[in-house]
């Protein structure tokens, strides 16, 4: 791992993927400017200094989702969202924009809300992943989900799991928000039916109840 990458996000990822975006771009850039084959540019020059490249075929991936360990064989390019939906059949996180804009795929990774469409599954290894299915056993409702039901904070419901997870991650860190703070905190999730008024009420109500419960 080159030292220069240690301080940025891609460097952190590179440890588990074996190939960071920046290195990949450098590699192809070299190949193009030197007018040589991509294979020589990428593999011939850099092979000695870098960890082994994984893929493009399926590689072993271990994901810890809702407390359960899953061992999968996935191509390195498979996103966490597709791994959850297509391989683990956890379809609560929704695919909508597929490029980190709408928040419908929000899950909690290592305690932080993450757009699962922007994170590769191989990069999500080693951290606990929480999806909406993990909030409560089937047939039961997490208090936050209950608040969404009570306040009709959903219509078609396609954005709802993402909102619930974003709200959960937020309340875990900020247990007593004002409605104004909720407006700012959940601006990374998009609803098309127009349920925002209900979402505001639901999140504030869930926070108040939790506060009450904690005494």
């Amino acid at each position: 791992m080159p030292e220069e990458h240690k301080d940025n996000h891609e460097g952190e990822r590179a440890e588990s993927t074996g190939l960071s975006r920046r290195e990949f771009l450098k590699g192809t850039g070299l190949a193009v400017s030197a007018g040589v084959l991509v294979g020589e540019g990428l593999l011939g020059v850099a092979a000695a200094e870098r960890p082994a490249v994984v893929g493009p075929g399926p590689v072993p991936v271990t994901l810890r989702v809702n407390g359960q360990v899953h061992r999968l064989e996935l191509e390195p390019r498979v996103t966490l969202l597709d791994a959850l939906r297509n391989h683990l059949h956890l379809t609560g996180a929704k695919k909508v924009c597929d490029r980190g804009t709408c928040g419908a795929c929000t899950v909690i990774v290592g305690g932080r809300p993450v757009y699962a469409c922007t994170l590769l599954a191989i990069a999500a290894q080693g951290e606990p992943i929480e999806t909406i299915e993990g909030l409560a056993p089937e047939g039961k409702l997490h208090p936050l989900s209950q608040a969404f039901v009570d306040n009709d904070a959903q219509q078609c419901g396609f954005c709802t799991p993402g909102f619930v997870m974003a709200a959960k991650a937020y309340l875990d860190r900020h247990p007593h928000p004002t409605e104004e703070e909720v407006r700012r905190a959940l601006n990374g999730n998009i609803c098309r039916c127009g349920t925002y008024m209900g979402v505001r009420r639901a999140v504030v109500e869930a926070a108040l109840k939790r506060k009450g419960g904690q005494g």
Binding site: V96, Q154, T160, N187
Partner: protein, 711 residues
């Protein structure tokens, strides 16, 4: 015996109360299974090859390399040599493979040779479009009422302005798509649809199988807004691929495709002249409008909207372009007609130095049969907005941040689509009602449950509602706010008939004729006398082994059409940055008898927010040079977030005068006025009209600089 008519206000146990939606817990726990979530054993994933050209003839299609790609199991050519594509994003080839990634790889290896043809993809006026080809322009209507020339001659004040709004998208969060699975010559489709009972026929026709062989399921769906009535090219492609591969196939549109081709709303632009007498009485209207719905025409905007101006000349022209075809977008043609009309009237009121509230009240005689409803709603909205305290004449604000108020009124038909309901009462007391209907997120499932439970005197949870399957009795497509009227009346009829059969069966045990019995509080009792009763379970036990089954159809005596509605907006505009901030939107809405107040209010909140989106943010941006859409994604196709909508206040008109009209659809009305109300509020704040939506900073600053301002 129970009667078909709605129970009077004092006797309603559930109808009109605030009741949480029945499918809320599935949705809020992530357990609801949408089409996108259906994963079948052995299922393949399909991807589409889309035309990059807005208009081209296909010379050749070569799928040989794609077919050899890893994981590929079927390739289906949708358009072959000699055929034309008419918009960038039109489907040409479909590929199915073991994984999504493999399907995407293979789609990239399909070689299509195109012969580009002349195109027009931009939203341009008819004169400009005619230069590309005379067939690009179609005059759709020319109407004259009264004597417009004399009308204008008699007007003391005449205002002329340009107004418009661009093409926007449906942008359903659940993309259009289908999962198709064959069992011999029987096809099972899961499809995100507004048309559960009707869409099977399209699959049957397209795949040359009997309609009886198509089983359609859609338990929940992630938004439609008018764009999901059809099987669509991609639905048929999924079924064709599944047949070729002998495996189930999932084909959900990618987001760019969704925004390129799966639904848009026609634009409307035009010049309006409108004249009034000095006292504010409207006397003359003239409008010359045009818009594009892509390569099709999509109806005529109802201009002038609501106000039947006695002397009017109205012309509308469609411009045919190489954009993805428009589809019905929530309240087709109304938001456009509303913006053009209400903005012109607001500008006229400003010329007359009249408060628009007074101007609208003064002209309500021209608003037809709902004039008195509008009056009541305008006064209620004014109270909730504190209009009379807050309103100032246009342009009175002088600071950097300028506050303004605007208002608009709207209307929609509704009524009810054809509907069939089957109610089954089982000997163990369990009850189910089944309809081949669908819940778009509007609350249809909940409304059906409420009507059934109310009729049978049971708690809501005692009734199982079965919808989303074409094996249930056929129900119409959910469009034009017709669902609630259809399903509520057919359910009322079916459950009343089933109950009356039950009453006949238990009458001997209670020693009175069935006509003296009623269902109330989970019991069958002698009317008004709980002491002489059987519990629901005891009553049903008398059925022996055979359940009661009764059917019901739409009943016109239970429903009506013609909602009105008023909205008022308060904005603050930053004159340095051009940013419009919505502070408050007041929506006062009638819809006859309300079944579920909670989901009804949600429809209005939702309509307001969709309206805020197109008032301030939404636009399908086309590149005139390449004919391609520049923002087929959700970063640059902007929608409002939770922090962008200010505060919305909803007031539903209920009670005497409203309830007795029966049930009226509510999906469309509240989305019609926000564009006009917000545009008028911005004009009030700035002192100039920003003529075109969305009210983006560049348009606001241009209007302030005197470039394109209409007043």
């Amino acid at each position: 015996m129970a009667e078909i008519k709605w129970p009077p206000a004092g006797e309603r146990q559930l109808i009109g109360k605030r009741i949480s939606r029945l499918d809320g817990p599935w949705k809020a726990s992530g357990r609801a299974r949408y089409t996108y979530d259906v994963n079948r054993p052995g299922m393949l994933y399909a991807k589409l090859v889309l035309s990059p050209y807005p208009h081209a003839r296909i010379r050749a299609v070569d799928t040989s390399e794609a077919e050899r790609m890893p994981g590929v199991r079927a390739v289906h050519v949708l358009l072959g040599p000699g055929q034309e594509v008419n918009w960038a994003g039109q489907e040409v080839v479909a590929v199915a493979a073991e994984t999504e990634e493999q399907a995407r790889d293979a789609a990239r290896r399909v070689r299509v040779d195109y012969e580009p043809l002349p195109f027009l993809a931009s939203d341009v006026p008819p004169e400009q479009a005619a230069r590309i080809g005379a067939d690009r322009v179609r005059r759709l209507s020319e109407r004259v009422e009264g004597d417009p020339d004399r009308g204008f001659a008699g007007a003391d004040v005449v205002h002329e302005g340009h107004y418009g709004l661009p093409v926007i998208n449906h942008c359903c969060l659940e993309a259009h798509g289908t999962v198709a699975e064959w069992e011999g010559d029987r096809l099972h489709v899961w499809i995100s649809t507004q048309n559960v009972s009707g869409v099977g026929g399209e699959f049957a026709e397209g795949l040359k199988i009997p309609a009886s062989n198509v089983h359609v399921e859609c338990e929940v769906m992630g938004g439609g807004f008018g764009s999901k009535f059809s099987a669509d090219t991609w639905g048929l492609a999924a079924a064709a691929l599944a047949r070729k591969a002998g495996r189930p196939v999932k084909l959900m549109l990618e987001r760019d495709h969704e925004l390129l081709a799966a639904g848009s709303r026609p634009s409307l632009h035009g010049r309006v002249r409108v004249g009034a007498r000095r006292d504010g009485t409207l006397v003359a209207w003239e409008s010359e409008t045009w818009g594009t719905a892509g390569p099709i025409t999509a109806g005529i905007p109802p201009l002038p909207y609501i106000f039947r101006v006695p002397n009017a000349r109205v012309r509308h022209t469609a411009v045919l372009t190489n954009q993805g075809p428009a589809r019905a977008w929530r309240a087709p043609n109304h938001p456009q007609a509303c913006l053009v009309t209400m903005a012109a009237l607001d500008d006229l009121a400003a010329r007359l130095n009249m408060d628009p509230l007074e101007f609208f009240l003064k002209n309500l005689a021209l608003a037809g049969e709902h004039a008195s409803v509008y009056r009541e709603e305008l006064l209620k909205a004014a109270e909730l907005m504190e209009w009379r305290r807050k309103w100032h004449p246009r342009g009175a604000e002088r600071g950097t941040l300028r506050r303004g108020l605007g208002l608009s009124i709207h209307t929609w038909g509704g009524l009810g689509h054809p509907s069939n309901c089957r109610c089954t009462i089982h000997p163990d007391g369990s009850v189910e009602v089944a309809l081949g209907s669908q819940d778009l997120g509007t609350g249809t499932r909940t409304v059906i449950g409420i009507v059934a439970a109310e009729t049978l005197g049971l708690p809501l949870e005692a009734v199982r509602v079965e919808i989303g399957d074409n094996r249930y009795p056929p129900d119409g497509a959910s469009g034009g706010s017709t669902t609630v009227g259809g399903v509520s009346s057919s359910t009322r009829v079916a459950t009343t008939r089933a109950l009356n059969q039950l009453l006949e069966r238990v009458a001997p045990a209670l020693g009175v004729p069935a006509s003296e019995l009623e269902a109330r509080g989970g019991r069958i009792q002698v009317r008004g006398n709980p002491a002489r009763s059987l519990s629901w379970q005891q009553a049903c036990a008398r059925l022996g082994a055979t359940p009661i089954v009764a059917d019901g159809q739409r009943d016109m005596s239970l429903i009506s059409s013609g909602a009105a509605g008023v909205q008022m907006a308060e904005v603050v505009v930053d004159t340095e940055t051009g940013i419009v901030r919505l502070e408050k939107l007041v929506a006062v809405q009638d819809c006859g008898l309300i079944i579920d107040l909670k989901t009804a209010e949600s429809q209005v909140y939702g309509g307001c927010i969709m309206g805020i989106c197109y008032a301030l943010y939404e636009e399908k941006v086309m590149d005139p040079v390449t004919g391609r859409c520049l923002n087929p994604n959700m970063e640059f196709y902007k929608l409002a977030g939770i922090g962008d909508i200010g505060t919305i206040v909803v007031h539903m008109m209920t009670g005497p005068g409203y309830d007795e009209r029966g049930v009226i659809g509510l999906g469309e009305p509240p989305v019609i006025s926000p564009g006009a109300a917000i545009s008028n509020a911005v004009a009030n704040a700035l002192g100039v009209r920003v003529p075109e939506l969305p009210l983006t900073p560049d348009r606001v600053l241009a209007a302030l600089a005197g470039k394109g301002g209409a007043v």
